[in-house]
Every structure is written in structure tokens, then in C-alpha cells.
């Protein structure tokens, strides 16, 4: 009996543990086993994600950040409209590139609070003005999330005046040094966070991420799929469209569009985000048309076993449909400010919305991934 109870204890202590197990051979000598029916390899998918998508995306983003800083240096040395325009272009190009990495809020990015540090909007202009005036600020504080990153730059590059001349004038005014110093500090914060995230990925986290190829709630695939769906729902769907549209507040909030001061780019930022999410779904390598093991191939693999509907196709068509409708829209801010209600944009939003249950119900349940981290018992 004692032995029995101690056995029970021994078993319970492995609760949810991720004890690494040596890979078990598929066992070709088992006559019952059909060699065709190889189960999906999660580790191969993780390698594809890390080496062909995540790390290259970060590297490309980091390059854009360097260009952005260079163009700022030029502008700082000579504040004229030509240099402002070049600075703005570099900002936009880095902002688009940011959309390609924002999704990967796991590991290094998560511990660096990367997404909120880089892209919290609407930006707090009062706070920025205050910081510029007092010259005392610590941008690493989370209370300053809304005073830094791309949206703060949006204000500093595009929002300080009506015309480029007005903006340049601010950078020629007596308090220009404080303004430049603040802009520089924002850029320095962004670039150091980026460097930190990349270095963490390359020095250890990539291997940790790939090695954690099990099936528990803390395994890389389960965690990342949670982050992926969360990003789509909260940041892409709600953040870039739903909130400014007012679908959660009852009245429109045009000041909540991404890139509020450079409003002709909000749509493109959203569409890039949508494309990235779809590319990731299909395992498309960064900057190439090649694809590898992905959520889509995982579904394919499960579906052949399941004889189910072609979920991969259904999800991809819904992505396409959403993109099609968003493509026909005017600038988000214009749609929201001039139409009451903004019917076209609401209709486009509905199509974006329809992707959520496909990912959050159909995809995750086919993969048997739990969509939250609650470790409660089931029956």
C-alpha cells in the first residue's frame, strides 16, 4: 500500500513537466505502422519559423532602424525640408518593416516589452511636449510607453506643424536642441531595444525556442500560436481598425489610427500586418517566395488524417477577402471622419473579424492547442 501511494506521488510529480525525452524512433520494424503516415514534425516548423522568418525579419528591421538613425543625423546637422522628407521616408520604411516583427512578441521581445515600447498609439503629445520642455525623462519607464517609439516619431516628424516648413521651423527655433535631443533619445531607445532583442535571439533564445518542441501549454508551438492569434485579434484587428472605428466604444475614435499625423500610411501599415500574418500562416520565408513547414502544412497534415474540410484553404480565402475589401478603402482616418457611420470600413472590418474564429476555434482545436494558459484539470 505504501508502495502504491508512493507510486501515485511519483506519478503526480511529473505534472505538466517538460522533462526532455530522447527522440523515440518511428520504429520501422513495427508491421502495423504505415510508413506513409509520418506525423508532423513540430521541430522542423520551429526551425523554419526561427531561421527563415523571425530572425531574418528582425535583421531586416534592424537595418531599417540604422537607416532611420542615419537620416536623423543628417537632419540634425542640417534641418531643412529635403532632409525632413528623407527622415520621414526612412521613418515610414522602418515603420513598415516593424509590422513584420511586431507579431513575434515572445521570449526576448516579450521580456523587453518590445511591442508596447515601439508602437503604443495614440501617442501622448502632452507628455512628449512636457519631456521636451523639462528635459528630464527616463524613456525606459513603462509609464513612457506612449511617449516613444514610432508614434512619438510620427508626432515629431509629421505632427509639429501644418507644412514641412512649419515643422522645420520648430527644429530651428531656440528650443530646438531639446527637441532634437528628445528625438534622438526616442531613436536611441528604439535602436537599443532592437539590438537587445536580436542579440538575445541569436545568442541562445533561438536554440531554446527550437528545442522546446513538445506539446504542453509551455511548448514553443503552443505558446507562439497563442501569441499569434492574440496579435491578430488585439493588435491587428482591434488596434489598427476596430478601436479607431469605435466598435468597442460606440463612437468613432479617429485619433486612434496608427500613424495619425501621416494618415495616408495607416492603410498600408495595416495591410503589411495582414500580409505578415498570412505569410506566417503559410510559412513563407522572409523576403522570398519559398515556403517551409508552417501552420498551413500542419493543418494539411492533420486534415489528411482527419478527412476534414480544407481548413487551410478556408483561412487563406478569408485572408484574401479581407485584404480585398481593405484595399478598396480610403485613408482610414478619412473613412472614419467623413462617413457616419463609416459603413465601408465596418464591412471591411467584418471580413477581418471573420478570420478570428477560424484561427481561434478551428485551427487551434484541430491542433489541440489550448488557447489560454490555464492549467486547470479537464475531464
Amino acid at each position: 500500500m505504501v508502495l502504491f501511494i508512493s507510486l501515485i506521488w511519483a506519478c503526480s510529480s511529473d505534472n505538466g513537466g517538460d522533462i526532455p525525452q530522447p527522440p523515440v524512433d518511428g520504429g520501422g520494424d513495427d508491421p502495423m505502422e504505415d510508413p506513409q503516415e509520418v506525423s508532423f514534425k513540430r521541430d522542423v516548423m520551429l526551425v523554419n519559423w526561427a531561421d527563415n522568418i523571425i530572425v531574418p525579419s528582425y535583421e531586416a528591421f534592424s537595418e531599417k532602424m540604422s537607416v532611420l538613425i542615419e537620416s536623423f543625423e543628417t537632419f540634425k546637422n542640417e534641418a531643412n525640408t529635403t532632409n525632413l522628407i528623407a527622415f520621414r521616408e526612412a521613418w515610414f520604411s522602418a515603420y513598415v518593416s516593424w509590422q513584420r516583427v511586431s507579431m513575434f512578441e515572445i521570449g526576448p521581445a516579450e521580456s523587453a516589452d518590445f511591442r508596447f515600447s515601439m508602437n503604443t498609439y495614440p501617442t501622448d503629445t502632452d507628455k512628449i511636449d512636457g519631456h521636451v520642455a523639462t528635459t528630464t525623462y527616463d524613456l525606459s519607464l513603462s509609464s513612457n510607453r506612449a511617449a516613444k517609439g514610432f508614434p512619438a516619431l510620427d508626432y515629431l516628424i509629421n505632427g509639429l506643424g501644418q507644412s514641412d516648413e512649419d515643422i522645420v521651423a520648430k527644429y530651428a527655433a531656440p528650443e530646438k536642441d531639446d527637441l532634437l535631443a528628445y528625438t534622438e533619445a526616442v531613436l536611441a531607445d528604439m535602436s537599443s531595444l532592437t539590438a537587445q532583442v536580436i542579440s538575445d535571439w541569436k545568442n541562445g533564445y533561438r536554440d531554446t525556442f527550437v528545442a522546446n518542441d513538445g506539446a504542453s501549454a509551455t511548448a514553443s508551438v503552443d505558446r507562439f500560436v497563442n501569441d499569434y492569434v492574440f496579435y491578430f485579434e488585439k493588435f491587428l484587428r482591434a488596434g489598427k481598425m476596430g478601436i479607431p472605428l469605435g466598435v468597442f466604444s460606440g463612437s468613432t475614435l479617429p485619433e486612434n489610427v496608427e500613424a495619425f499625423y501621416k494618415t495616408d500610411v495607416s492603410n498600408e501599415l495595416f495591410l503589411t500586418g495582414l500580409e505578415v500574418v498570412q505569410d506566417f500562416f503559410n510559412g513563407k520565408h522572409f523576403g522570398s517566395t519559398a515556403t517551409g513547414e508552417s501552420l498551413a502544412t500542419y493543418l494539411d497534415d492533420l486534415n489528411t488524417v482527419k478527412d476534414g474540410e480544407d481548413l487551410k484553404q478556408i483561412i487563406n480565402s478569408q485572408f484574401d477577402k479581407a485584404r480585398e475589401l481593405v484595399n478598396t478603402l480610403d485613408e482610414f482616418r478619412t473613412e472614419i471622419e467623413t462617413n457616419n457611420p463609416p459603413t465601408d470600413m465596418l464591412l471591411a472590418y467584418d471580413e477581418v473579424q471573420r478570420i478570428v474564429p477560424l484561427l481561434k476555434v478551428d485551427m487551434v482545436s484541430a491542433m489541440s492547442i489550448s488557447i489560454d494558459f490555464v492549467d486547470a484539470d479537464g475531464d
Binding site: 523515440v24 503516415e37 506525423s39 513540430r42 460606440g250 482545436s365 479537464g378
Partner: protein, 438 residues
């Protein structure tokens, strides 16, 4: 019976310690802002930090049950505190917990502390070596019902013909040693499904017959250890393994008691007094019999209440709970609630995470009674915030056992106006597929 009492109390104590140790009291009963009540039990809510007190009471009463001290009061306290905990939020409903409530209720009427207990030690007048056979058989009957009904529930086309939901669940356990690679094999999934159904139906009988009993117990251990390895089902497998010991005859139980007695240096022979407990014929005993008979009648009938509802049981879940339907469905849902101010026509969507924990949101998303209760909560909340004639609509997509998700709740129905009751909810859209079977 003594062995059963000791191990049951011990298991309960460990379960509560484990529950507490995992931080679940805080996570499940203190953090949420809103709790899903059982119809008719809306008054049962967590008590803030005093919730810990309920767990302490429950744990102590489990210890008292184990040592058999003030057994009657202890088991009643245990039943009440445990059931209170379960009624606080139906998000956490598990058949296992319901089983514990049933079992502890039944044990109130059983003389489980007549032998090898502190009560019997302190008061020799209450010490009996032999107790009426029906008291032991009643536990066997309850266990038999749990297994057999669980087996009946598996006799449906999804489970047997499609091997669902094991076909979804098993391949995701690929990292389990030895078995991992087999689990993605279709024949393994079918084998598990059929073996599971057969096991549930046959095990009560195999345990009853002396000749097959040992073999059956080996099966019980294998089956439950396997479920423990494959699924996150906590203490339940051990509770079941221990419970099935009740099927063994007195000889085996005496050996176990001997072992415990030796370890704890308890003089077992003191309890072997040969006294026989004979229940008198008084009205109290009559009442006791009545309760037990009524209890079992309900146990046999309640799982069949689904027959009174139209539609597919797995889809509507009307009559699903309290019926030993264990691990039958892979069901997931997504809900988006829309609040409309009836007088101005203004509307907005609700961010569920403002009010619910992820676990609550997940459970709510595919169970109609949760959806309705939450809709009413939203109605009251926004009415208080100053909205007029609040209307609540939901866009709810649900997928069941690998089928593509489809709209679950009629999006045109104003849930603010619908009432909770035991009647069929006609705003649940039809399943449009068929799952044959019981």
C-alpha cells in the same frame, strides 16, 4: 469500508492541498470579477479571502474523515464545503468533482467509521467489525453507475465511427515516451476509442465477479494511469483506482488495514471485536433508507434528462452535465457580444477580457447557459452605466469534434430579453449534422 474511508479522506486532503498549491484558489475564485452560477444557486459565490477558509474547512474535514474522528459531522462538513466550492463558479465544473459530491453525500448515510477509526476507539459502543452489506454495495453501485453511464455515453457515431475526439487529442501527445509515435496512427485512435467504451461498460461487472476481479483491477490501474499520462485530469485517476478497491472482499481489506496498523503502530485487534452493526427499525433509519433510494433513483434518471430536449445533446448541451459524459467532445467557441442602446441605436462590441478570465471566456464560448448568464450580466452592467433599453446580441461560432465552426446562437435574438430556465433554448441554432447513438 474503513480502507475506503481512510483512502478517500486522504485523497481529498491531497486534492485540496494540490489545488491550493497550484494557486488555483486565487486564480479561479478570487481573480475573476464575475462568476457563473448554477441555475437556482445564484446565491453561492466565492467569499473573497474567506474562500481560503472554506478550503481549510474542507481539508480538515477530509482529515477527520480519514482518521474517523466525529465522522458524521466531518463527512457532512466535507460534503457541504466541497459542494459549496463546486457551486461557486460552474466554469470549473468537472464530472470528477460532481462524483466527489455524490460520493460524500452517500457516505453521510454510511457507517464508515465503525471500524479502525478514532470514533470506534474512543467509544467501543460504536465500534463494529461488521456492517450491513448494503452499505458497501451502495458504493459499488455508485461506481458502477459512473462507469457504465460513461460507457453508454461513448456509444455514439463520433466516438466509435469517427474516433472523435481522440483523433484530435492523441496526435498532440506525440512527445510522450514510448507511446508518442503510435498516437498519430489511426488504428491506435480507433483502438483507444473502442477499448475505452468497452472498458467503461464492462468494468463494473468484471469487478463484481470474484474470478475476474484481480484482472479487472489491473485493467483499472492501466486505464487510469494511461488517462493520467495522456490528459490533464489531476487526481481523478488515483481516486478511481483507490475507490475500486471497495470491490475486493474483506480479506484483502484486512491485509491493507494490517499494513496501515503496522506502520502507525495501531493495535488493529482492538477493532476486531466481532460486533455486528444492526440498524434498528426506527423512523431515522427508515428516513436514511428513503434518502439512499431516492439518491440512486435520481442518479439513474438524471443522465437521461437530455431526452426531454430537442436537438443534438453535444451541440446544445442541454442535459449534458451531471451525466458522466466524460471526455466526449472537442468543442471550442468564439463569441463577440454586441451591446445596443435601444433608444439611440448606438452600438459597440464587448471585449470579453474586461470581465472574464481567459478560462471563463473559453468555457462560456460554447455553452448556452453561460452565454445567457453573461449576456444578462452585460445588460445589467451597461444599464447601470447609463445605457437605455440595453439589447445584447452575440456572434458565436462553435466547432465540435473537428467539424468546421458554424454559428451557434441566433445573432438576431436579443439575449437581454431571454430568460434562463430548464426549458429548451430556442435561440440555439440547429446543429445541421447528426451524431447517432445514445
Amino acid at each position: 469500508m474503513a480502507v475506503f474511508r481512510i483512502l478517500f479522506g486522504l485523497m481529498m486532503f491531497l486534492s485540496i492541498v494540490r489545488f491550493w498549491g497550484n494557486g488555483w484558489i486565487d486564480k479561479l475564485y478570487l481573480q475573476p470579477k464575475f462568476f457563473f452560477s448554477y441555475f437556482g444557486f445564484e446565491w453561492i459565490k466565492p467569499l473573497g479571502n474567506y474562500t481560503y477558509l472554506i478550503f481549510i474547512i474542507c481539508a480538515f474535514s477530509a482529515v477527520f474523515v480519514t482518521i474517523g474522528y466525529k465522522y458524521k459531522i466531518a463527512i457532512i462538513t466535507f460534503f457541504l464545503s466541497f459542494t459549496y466550492i463546486e457551486l461557486m463558479d460552474k466554469t470549473t465544473y468537472l464530472n470528477h468533482y460532481y462524483f466527489i459530491s455524490c460520493l460524500s453525500f452517500l457516505m453521510i448515510f454510511l457507517p464508515a467509521s465503525s471500524y479502525f477509526s478514532l470514533d470506534a476507539n474512543l467509544n467501543p459502543k460504536k465500534a463494529f467489525q461488521h456492517i450491513p452489506i448494503w452499505t458497501i454495495n451502495s458504493i459499488k453501485l455508485l461506481l458502477g453507475i459512473v462507469y457504465f453511464y460513461a460507457g453508454l455515453a461513448k456509444l455514439n457515431s463520433d466516438w466509435l465511427i469517427k474516433a472523435m475526439p481522440l483523433k484530435i487529442w492523441l496526435p498532440s501527445k506525440f512527445d510522450i515516451p514510448l507511446l508518442g509515435n503510435l498516437l498519430s496512427q489511426e488504428w491506435v485512435q480507433y483502438a483507444f476509442s473502442w477499448f475505452g467504451a468497452g472498458y467503461d461498460l464492462a468494468i463494473p461487472l468484471l469487478l463484481l465477479y470474484r474470478k475476474t476481479r484481480t484482472f479487472a483491477f489491473v485493467l483499472v490501474v492501466i486505464f487510469h494511469v494511461l488517462t493520467r499520462v495522456l490528459f490533464p485530469i489531476g487526481m481523478f485517476p488515483y481516486i478511481m483506482i483507490v475507490s475500486t478497491l471497495i470491490f475486493f472482499d474483506a480479506g484483502v481489506h484486512h491485509k491493507i488495514v494490517n499494513l496501515i496498523a503496522r506502520v502507525f503502530r495501531i493495535a488493529k485487534h482492538r477493532f476486531d471485536n466481532g460486533h455486528k452493526l444492526v440498524l434498528d427499525n426506527g423512523s431515522l433509519t427508515q428516513l436514511k433508507y428513503m434518502f439512499v433510494v431516492l439518491f440512486f433513483t435520481l442518479q439513474l434518471a438524471v443522465p437521461f434528462r437530455y431526452l426531454g430536449y430537442p436537438g443534438e445533446l453535444f451541440w446544445t448541451e442541454e442535459g449534458y452535465r451531471f451525466s458522466w459524459r466524460v471526455m466526449l467532445v472537442e468543442k471550442g467557441g468564439y463569441t463577440q457580444f454586441k451591446i445596443v442602446d435601444g433608444s439611440s441605436g448606438k452600438w459597440f462590441y464587448v471585449d470579453n477580457s474586461d470581465f472574464l478570465t481567459p478560462f471563463q471566456e473559453k468555457q462560456m464560448a460554447f455553452q448556452p447557459d453561460f452565454i445567457l448568464e453573461y449576456a444578462h450580466f452585460l445588460r445589467d452592467k451597461f444599464s447601470k452605466d447609463g445605457l437605455q433599453k440595453v439589447e445584447v446580441y452575440v456572434d458565436c461560432q462553435v466547432g465540435l469534434n473537428g467539424r468546421l465552426s458554424k454559428t451557434f446562437i441566433d445573432p438576431k435574438v436579443n439575449l437581454a430579453k431571454e430568460q434562463e430556465s430548464f426549458a429548451h433554448k430556442n435561440w440555439i441554432l440547429p446543429f445541421e449534422d447528426e451524431i447517432k447513438g445514445i
